[in-house]
């Protein structure tokens, strides 16, 4: 790098230009991979459901939560939500399901649907092909005590074992007796999930569904049984809904403020540090393109707080340059030749740059691990921004200076540096 500053600088500039095209909100970058924007920028709902697990044995809890999540995912998809985000978090007998819906017009309908307890029932199958009819029975999820994925003892193939309670065993016994050789349909939320063929009468209330399962599909079926069977009522404990109008306005305003802030910082740097400041300003543009490129490629869902965090790093990214330039000025005054003053300035400013940014990095890491979704976006963009800005300040700016500040031609810069 020391020997070919021009080569390395051109590489960084090319990557930055590519990143610029990639992140620009209109054009090829967006066609290839659109930005992921948070609910507070596009509008949508952030819903938190409390799941009451007090009636579920501890061994079944994770299966019930996974099953509920699966059921809610299906329900949400009915509303045409693009990529609903569903997270789960558990502590003790209480679990939380967090549902994020972007761009739903009828949030109230979605909320009503999501909040219902999943309904599992068994139906008898009459007829075949297009004339298949499903006849309701009185065997529903409430007669099931649980379901697990098990393995067939001889073949080791995954299967699902469903256990019925005492009353359920009786109903199931009669039902299997009447339907030997025929399929028995299982519905969850009025959607057919499985129609295994009854091999024989099952009197003991322990049904085994086997054949053609992978471990994942057997697990999923067991979860669906558990979600529809076990009493784990869910209640909406928190909702945050933001209208698309407000979201779009916020996005426009924050982007505009970011642009103005960037221009002010660039002008200030050029005004105060002249030629050096111009290099810092160019590095800042490269920093912005690269950082946005990283956000997009990871991809990070950008929220309003996340964008605010990024805009803060624009103000911080030139800090390292300020510290370095002030050092270089001191080295000039001590009478060092220009190229050496630049190198010495970078070398001596580095410890305080690294250590002073470390406290912000610590804050960002702690915020990321110990807070909820809105704050996390801020912490992540702040963290990535500070790290990239360190790179940008010590690499990009340094390459600019190595390329353009040579001992012979540097006399004219001396007067600029105040």
């Amino acid at each position: 790098m020391r020997r070919h500053p021009g080569l390395f600088l051109s590489m960084i500039v090319i990557v930055a230009i590519a990143a610029g095209f990639f992140v620009y909100p209109k054009g090829i970058g967006t066609k290839w991979m659109p930005w992921k924007l948070g609910l507070d920028l596009v509008g949508g709902s952030h819903l938190v459901y409390q799941v009451d697990l007090s009636n579920v044995s501890s061994t079944d809890q994770s299966s019930v939560i996974a099953g509920l999540r699966d059921v809610i995912d299906k329900r949400v998809n009915l509303f045409g939500v693009s990529e609903p985000q569903i997270y789960t978090a558990q502590s003790g007998n209480q679990a939380q399901l967090i549902v994020e819906l972007a761009g739903v017009n009828n949030v109230s309908d979605a909320i009503n649907q999501i909040g219902q307890t999943p309904l599992l029932d068994f139906r008898e199958v009459q007829g075949t092909g297009s004339s298949t009819q499903y006849v309701y029975t009185n065997l529903t999820g409430e007669y099931i005590t649980g379901a697990q994925m098990t393995f067939e003892p001889t073949t080791n193939a995954p299967q699902v074992t469903v256990t019925f309670n005492k009353d359920g065993s009786q109903i199931f016994d009669e039902m299997t007796k009447a339907n030997v050789g025929k399929p028995l349909a299982i519905f969850l939320d009025n959607q057919l999930i499985e129609a295994p063929v009854v091999q024989e009468e099952i009197p003991d209330g322990k049904a085994v569904i086997s054949g053609g399962f992978t471990i994942a599909s057997a697990q999923q079926l067991a979860q669906r049984f558990n979600a529809g069977a076990l009493p784990a009522p869910i209640t909406l404990v928190s909702q945050q809904t933001i209208s698309p109008t407000l979201g779009t306005n916020s996005l426009k305003e924050v982007a505009f403020a970011g642009l103005i802030g960037t221009l002010l910082v660039m002008l200030f740097m050029i005004f105060y540090y002249r030629l050096f400041g111009l290099f810092a300003a160019l590095s800042l543009v490269i920093y912005i393109a690269l950082t946005l490129g990283i956000f997009k490629i990871i991809p990070i869902t950008l929220s309003l707080a996340g964008l605010a965090g990024f805009i803060l790093t624009i103000g911080m990214a030139v800090d390292a340059n300020v510290l370095i330039f002030e050092r270089i000025k001191e080295e000039f005054k001590r009478g060092l030749p220009h190229a050496s003053a630049v190198e010495e300035g970078f070398r001596r400013a580095w410890p305080s740059i690294r250590d002073s940014n470390m406290s912000t990095i610590i804050t960002a890491i702690i915020l990321y691990y110990f807070t909820s979704s809105f704050v996390r976006g801020f912490a992540l963009t702040l963290l990535i921004g500070v790290v990239v800005s360190l790179f940008s300040a010590i690499t990009t700016t340094r390459l600019f200076l190595r390329l353009f500040i040579k001992d012979k031609s540097a006399a004219s810069q001396n007067s600029n540096s105040k």
């Binding site: 909406l236 404990v237 928190s238 002010l264 605010a308 002030e326 406290s359 804050t363 702690i366």
Partner: protein, 300 residues
């Protein structure tokens, strides 16, 4: 500039400001937002009608029978912010229908209703985050100043860095308490984040000055009085202390005046914190180092 020599003036200014901040927090407390204590925050506009906050307030109390409603008008978004207790989604829909009937141009901008249990756990995790940031930064400061040179021992740099951190956080926090009392500004997770980020910046500025002092002590050991070394160090770094924060102030001002209304107080806390940080890194941190150093005496 003789900064260290006038240290009593700077300490007095800071003592008064921090004192006002702490008294405000003690007397007014913080107004917790719905996010922390549970409750509902409803933001909407009624563009076709010129309504006052009082009209909206009376509609909520008299027609919707929400007696604990508190209405504020936000001039930047031309919107009303109404706060009340937690409601179910069914009640929200009923109220929405009633308001649309009363004011046909009613437009919901945002609606959040948070149960007190969710709020309590969010508050708890915020407090944990605050404590962890303080512990993390303290450990880091101890690490950063592990190499020290006489006459200032390593722990003095550390304690003063923490003192300025407290100073820089107390003043914007006090401002939040005052704004909470007079303007009904509430603290939410954004305000907590802003205070935590102020902590990070505070250390940032102080480290730059202290590193310079440490360097100068090594270079001028025995030749120059300690007080002079410190004062020279502050003067050598004053331009960079101001400039590094000034670039941040520029983007914060852009965000404050042109950014979305939702971020206004978040940015204000940062702005006040950053300005306080400049002041403390120049006028408090280094003079305090002289004040507690054995040579310059215990006079304070």
């Amino acid at each position: 500039m003789n900064i260290v020599g006038h240290k009593k003036i700077w300490f007095a200014i800071s003592t008064i400001l921090v004192g006002i901040a702490l008294v405000s927090i003690g007397v007014f407390h913080f107004q917790e937002s719905a996010e922390f204590k549970g409750g509902t925050l409803w933001e909407f506009t009624v563009p076709a009608q010129s309504l006052s906050s009082a009209d909206v307030q009376s509609e909520f109390i008299n027609n919707l029978h929400i007696i604990d409603a508190q209405t504020n008008y936000d001039p930047t978004n031309h919107s009303f912010l109404v706060r009340f207790g937690t409601v179910t989604e069914a009640a929200h829909q009923a109220d929405l229908a009633a308001l649309t009937a009363a004011w046909p141009s009613f437009q919901e901008l945002s609606f959040q209703s948070i149960s007190s249990s969710v709020g309590a756990s969010l508050l708890q995790s915020s407090i944990i985050a605050i404590l962890l940031v303080i512990i993390g930064i303290s450990l880091y400061i101890a690490f950063a100043f592990r190499k020290a040179s006489r006459p200032v021992s390593s722990w003095k740099y550390g304690w003063i860095t923490l003192l300025t951190l407290f100073h820089d956080v107390a003043i914007p926090a006090g401002l939040l308490a005052i704004l909470g009392h007079y303007n009904n500004v509430q603290i939410d997770s954004n305000s907590i984040v802003a205070l935590l980020v102020v902590m990070g910046f505070s250390v940032h500025d102080t480290i730059v000055v202290f590193y310079r002092i440490r360097e100068n002590i090594i270079n001028h050991r025995g030749k120059t009085p300690f007080e002079t070394i410190v004062n020279d160090s502050v003067n050598q770094t004053i331009a960079r202390s101001i400039n590094t924060s000034f670039t941040l102030i520029l983007v914060l001002l852009a965000l404050y005046f042109m950014g979305p209304a939702d971020l206004k107080y978040f940015v204000l806390v940062l702005l006040v914190g950053v300005i306080t940080g400049i002041y403390s890194s120049i006028f408090i941190a280094s003079p305090a180092l002289v004040a507690i150093s054995p040579k310059e005496g215990i006079s304070k």
